[in-house]
Symmetry: D2
Subunit: 366 residues, 4 copies
């Protein structure tokens, strides 16, 4: 892992800027023999795509994925898989008035402090548009893990501002998530969220919230302590998503208020002879290794940094200034962040699966 | 990063088990010319050491650090620095009755599921005793960063079960933290926590809580997006600590209930001509790159998995069983987790400093 | 380093197959602020391009490079730089008769043994066409190192079969190399080589030879022992080039026949006060760290595996067979391998420069 | 791979200096369940140990290995394996007269140029004594690969100065190698070499030579192109050994003088139905992936840099000086380099085995 590469064995390197020529990802370490075409990838991108509803940015990008390498006659070959997305609806001129302003809540100032210059067009590399490449790569990981392990991953919006749903993660279906324009599978909460968001947009402001994610089907035994724990890699993966500011595994911060006797998940053996736990406060991980129970976690997203109220800031030369944002922006990233959280979960699990295979390599020929 | 190695450029590999011969760390990538003796390392270990007070395990380990390599006449040479701690008070027989039992909340089952066997003595490699090696390595990172950048890192206990302190992180001194046996710098809250913990211990149960950490003095510009964001690396570092279940940066989960206009930190230029933000909801990071403001985050620790009440579980062959823990255990890890959180923060910052140096290497000879 | 990625800090990931849609490279870790356009890259590709002379394959590829990301208004931004080359003159049908044959000397059998399937079209990923992406990436490394350090790299053909030139590497100019169709800077030897090669082609056979490379201008102090020695990284880089089978640094295998007193390079201080050596048997490296003297090494390339004589082999199902190659092939790769050797040298030096910057990071603020 | 760590999945980090407290290695990624005690490691160290014969340094080091972690009741657990060797016969005062002199052929100058200071005692970290840790780690890799794959590795001295043996590598036994004090399995050549070496020592000079190595039993399919080719990783491994200056795989530099029709190894199917090649000019690798044929390569070692004749050099302040070496030194490293070459071969193969397992992870549940 480093900079623009995610993963140790199933590695994804992404590239591209918000208003550059193209975005893409190169996947290295995907096993050969996996059936893979663009149809395995496009649906995930369509779920992340801008312009899906009134609640997302009106930028028009078809986001049609191309597979440039790594497959032959419909199957992966073991060679690196390059995925490409061209930018078509870039409007860099919409950012001309921001060329010399550091927008609060964005990476404008910090990128400049780091590198001495920046691509001001829509945040450049720091734009969440970069995550389109992650979603494409995540779909490849998903195809593999679904084929090899029958793993499933579902994320959904659990709260938006002060509107929060109380949902059992194990009961959530993809259909219920997609039925809501905000990807909150509880219809009543979804309606309240929409109402709340309409008011926020009316007020030219923006909102954040939380996303819950559940991964089922992973066997017991994945994770590479002491550092590459499942919890640690998921935390890393989630905090690498733009605008995310928090992560909790299983009972998370809630566990801090429980006693040990209430929190420990008792073991039992089920009718199939598998060892399971009666509760799952651990969120599917003990000592950083999967238990075979569902992996459950939650991610916090701060409110969108771009709102339409006037803001105090400084210019690139440090002079005080006031500005207002213009253009096409999501009032709330949550619905589009759902497929991104899923993609990063797939990529984390794929890497853990490959690492586990390497480290538990046979000691004896059997 | 991978398995037992933390960091990309300032890399630490740890080894050792709870009841094995020794624990240690090898640091690769520490600059040459740093004055370094065991006296730079021992104080951090003494803060983490067992047996410090009535509230920590009574295992007696002097934890005297040895530097085996990497220094010459008191200075680092650029060669790898090996640090060693011998185990002296190991009592593996105290775990004989647990040889065939999977303890709930521990890695016993998952390590076996992964590797087909386990060292049952005090959790083996999965024991928190492993963190002694991290604390030793963290002290080396601290020595470097304090010399080179005047960075400071302070962690403290913010909450224990339902007792929570409300403290401005920027006001906390090391002295105030150390004055409390629980390392909660607010004396009144500390007393309440002690009272609460006495009751928990009396009830043979255990507790968890949260630790807040603040790092000051890091310049703007550290962090390697898109994946190696400051936030992501800190989340990874913190979730790699045994028993940690959550992480939040700056306003964290609280940010989800704020609007964008309330959350954005306005920029201004201070009297020294430096760009700063009026608030610090971001916790010192924008776009995954440091802002130059204090880096502030919080970590959730679940209650200690070992309590002394009877527990339901299964044997290694899957049969139902009931057992009770015996021996020497902390009723609450929080005070000893404080130096561990600090150590992982130092190691993260050292790696970011070294990476930043590599990536901003001069384009022109000046 | 791993699989399809070269380098630790200045990292290049390549992708693409001989007869796939496109080839490319993603560079991560290139400093920001470097002036970079396609004009900095195209000349190196033109030197490697097929169809340059009667001595190279007649496949027609313009190999026009595109920069997809990582630059803004002509300067690098610190974001990953994606480079793309489309394949235009792929003729996969020319390989139809080889779909079920394992060609001797090629990766057909081993790729199948590894992955269970292969892309038989021109060797797929195992084709030397992949090196076009390396040459493009190498040009970016060259641009940086030439700007920052005035480093220069020149490679040339030193021997072909039994025809060998005796040339002082320090006397060779780029012009002299380019004046020869075989990139042998000694005109007389070049003529003999051409004659020899004409006979080989006439006989439907193929040839190999050696390439010498010299890099001047690198300061003393680069290299990361004990494993990432300059010598070791260059050996790795060179043996990663298709068809290379040997590497020697400085006096190399010749040193084995010298005594220590004859081989040691005596130190002296030159008129500029710099420490230099009177001879350079070491080839610019002592203990795996650069001395500041020219870095000189030699690479062995086996004869081209594709010749036009009948060959004994087996089919993919193991049956004995005989076949003859058809189509467009170089009788000798050496002239086109020259820019590839240079590119891999640039990439190695760029990585060493970046690593050195990270590891010699200041201990004290100065 | 980086600095002091070798390998991607089976990773070894070494530490320690020639005259420091101790040397050691930490192995991360060794599978659990491998029977492992010090008796598996000690014999390899005994073969490398100083003071074995009149032809090696008279420094007396028992080199008794300790296993500090990673095993439990005689089996590996999947935790990192720390190996430790204490230095007992360090005589740093023997180097006092060299404190301010840069010895030609050694890393004294370059380490200082890199890090601004050096440990002058016997070369510090740059001493070949560091390779004791590699040999210990290599023995662990050997134990695993011998158990799991019946792989065998044998190295031997092929030439010393101008005395060269002509031996079929496939005919060499460990016994024949060990029967020679110079580890040259041909008795007659061994005698000639001894004679040659006696004269060299008499002349206060030193010698180098070549080592051939053969690894049998590795299956077809190992190696991770395009960069992590078997050839490239072996070249890297071998050139990372102190004093090595060249590497060739299979026919190596000799291949440059052969035509393609003579060099290609024809495929056939043997009586067991396995695909093999009639010759093995490739040295067991095609396209960087193992063929299943023996892996054969050769390594060049320069003459020992320390001889006892007067040498011209400079002091650390750049002044011209003349000095003569004193103390305990090998006149020729070759016999002791044999187990080092073997160790690096084992480590390379172990890493390739683990990587292969990760990358050919099942696509479908079978």
């Amino acid at each position: 892992m480093s900079g623009n590469t995610f993963g140790t064995m199933f590695r994804v390197t992404t590239f591209g800027e918000s208003h550059g020529a193209a975005l893409g990802a190169v996947i290295d370490g995907c096993p050969a023999g996996l059936a893979l075409t663009t149809e395995d990838i496009q649906p995930a991108l369509d779920r992340r795509r801008p312009g899906q509803s009134a609640w997302t940015t009106q930028r028009r990008e078809a986001d049609q994925i191309q597979i440039l390498s790594g497959t032959f006659e419909g199957y992966t070959t073991g060679a690196p898989i390059a995925l490409l997305l061209h930018n078509h609806d870039a409007k860099p001129e919409a950012y001309d008035h921001l060329r010399d302003v550091f927008r609060p809540g964005h990476a404008d100032f910090t990128w400049s402090a780091k590198h001495g210059l920046r691509d001001h067009r829509g945040g450049g590399r720091a734009s969440a548009r970069e995550t389109a490449a992650r979603v494409a790569a995540g779909a490849v990981a998903a195809k593999w893990l679904q084929s090899a392990y029958h793993i499933n991953v579902i994320a959904y919006v659990e709260s938006l501002l002060d509107v929060s749903a109380s949902i059992d993660p194990e009961s959530v279906s993809r259909e219920a998530v997609e039925a809501s324009p905000l990807r909150c599978p509880d219809p009543e909460t979804s309606s309240q969220m929409l109402e709340r968001l309409a008011a926020i947009r009316q007020a030219k402001d923006s909102a954040g919230g939380t996303i819950r994610c559940i991964a089922t089907g992973a066997p017991a035994g994945w994770g590479e302590p002491v550092f590459d724990r499942v919890d640690a890699l998921l935390a890393y993966a989630m905090l690498s998503i733009p605008a995310s500011k928090g992560f909790e595994m299983g009972s998370g911060f809630q566990s801090c208020t429980m006693t040990g006797s209430a929190h420990n998940d008792a073991f039992y053996t089920n009718e199939s002879g598998e060892i399971r736990t009666r509760t799952n406060h651990a969120g599917g991980s003990l000592g950083g290794i999967t238990t075979g129970m569902p992996i459950v976690f939650r991610v916090a997203f701060k409110p969108v940094a771009t709102h339409f109220l006037p803001q105090e800031s400084v210019t690139t030369s440090g002079a005080a200034t006031t500005f207002s944002a213009r253009g096409r922006h999501d009032p709330c990233v949550l619905p589009r962040a759902v497929p991104i959280v899923e993609a990063m979960t797939w990529l984390t699990l794929a890497d853990l699966a490959a690492q586990h295979a390497a480290y538990t390599h046979p000691v004896r020929v059997r």
